[in-house]
């Protein structure tokens, strides 16, 4: 399932489409400590967080995740959003808590 397909199925807002229609979600990683994400998220993971600053985008690019999903209604500010678009990072927004979004992804990926 691609990030855009996930967004369409569950009604998430596509804040930056990036490569979200061409990459497959390979796994799920939830964390707000960006250094931990750098070291532990796997390539193609969906990265779920409430940390919506410009460094979130940098970490998404360098860790090569398939998308960032900002949970709990967190939004990106305009400069960060511009950076995400410029770097082709797919950013989705959800009003739900991280766990709820992760649970939907886990079901879609056949983990539960």
């Amino acid at each position: 399932m691609t990030p855009i397909e996930f967004a369409e199925k569950y009604g998430l807002t596509v804040s930056s489409p990036g490569e979200g229609d061409s990459r497959e979600i390979g796994g799920v990683y939830c964390c707000d400590l960006l250094s931990m994400v750098m070291g532990r998220a796997s390539e193609n993971d969906a990265f779920l967080t409430v940390m919506g600053n410009v460094n979130t985008v940098a970490v998404a690019v360098l860790a090569d995740v398939s998308c960032v999903i900002l949970c709990e209604g967190i939004q990106l500010d305009e400069p960060t959003l511009e950076k995400a678009r410029a770097q082709d990072v797919c950013v989705l927004l959800s009003p739900e808590p991280t766990f709820q979004v992760a649970l939907k992804l886990a079901r879609e990926l056949g983990m539960v």
Partner: protein, 145 residues
């Protein structure tokens, strides 16, 4: 002789620009056709190093030397230095200020991540003079490739 030599000045005052050097190196390695896992390792090492330079040392200079069989990274700063390198290498140990923590850093993962994702790492540091971190990531190719 390295096949590619890159140098970056890291701006120590602008936290939002941290990652620019790492992103640029990533693009260059992609152009060279490096395997994705090698690029990822180099990116993580450099980004953590960049963040450290911004948090602790008011910036510095990053040199990246690309050889067929390895990528060498040298991160040099003239910051306050590391008093106890063994302690700094422990996961969870950090001297980062609260404003950095509120941005999602300062968890004491930086140097351990650099160690984990590089094949070789060496730190030279003198308190009050600065720190230089040397890291090597092997590409798996032979020297003559």
């Amino acid at each position: 002789m390295p096949s590619l030599k890159l140098q970056y000045q890291v701006d120590g005052t602008d936290f939002t620009r941290a990652g620019e050097a790492s992103s640029s190196v990533k693009k260059n390695l992609r152009k060279l056709g490096m395997p994705a896992d090698i690029i990822r390792k180099v990116s993580i090492c450099l980004y953590e190093g960049e963040i450290n330079m911004v948090i602790h040392a008011d910036g510095g200079v990053i040199d990246v030397l690309v050889y067929p069989d390895r990528i060498e990274m040298i991160l040099a700063d003239t910051g306050k230095g590391i008093a106890d390198i063994d302690k700094a290498m422990q996961e969870g140990w950090s001297t980062a200020p609260d404003e950095v923590r509120s941005l999602g850093f300062g968890a004491g993962m930086g140097l351990p991540n650099m160690k984990k994702y590089s094949d070789e790492m060496r730190i030279e540091s003198t308190v009050g003079v600065g720190t230089t971190v040397y890291m090597t990531v092997r590409t798996g190719a032979s020297q003559s490739a």
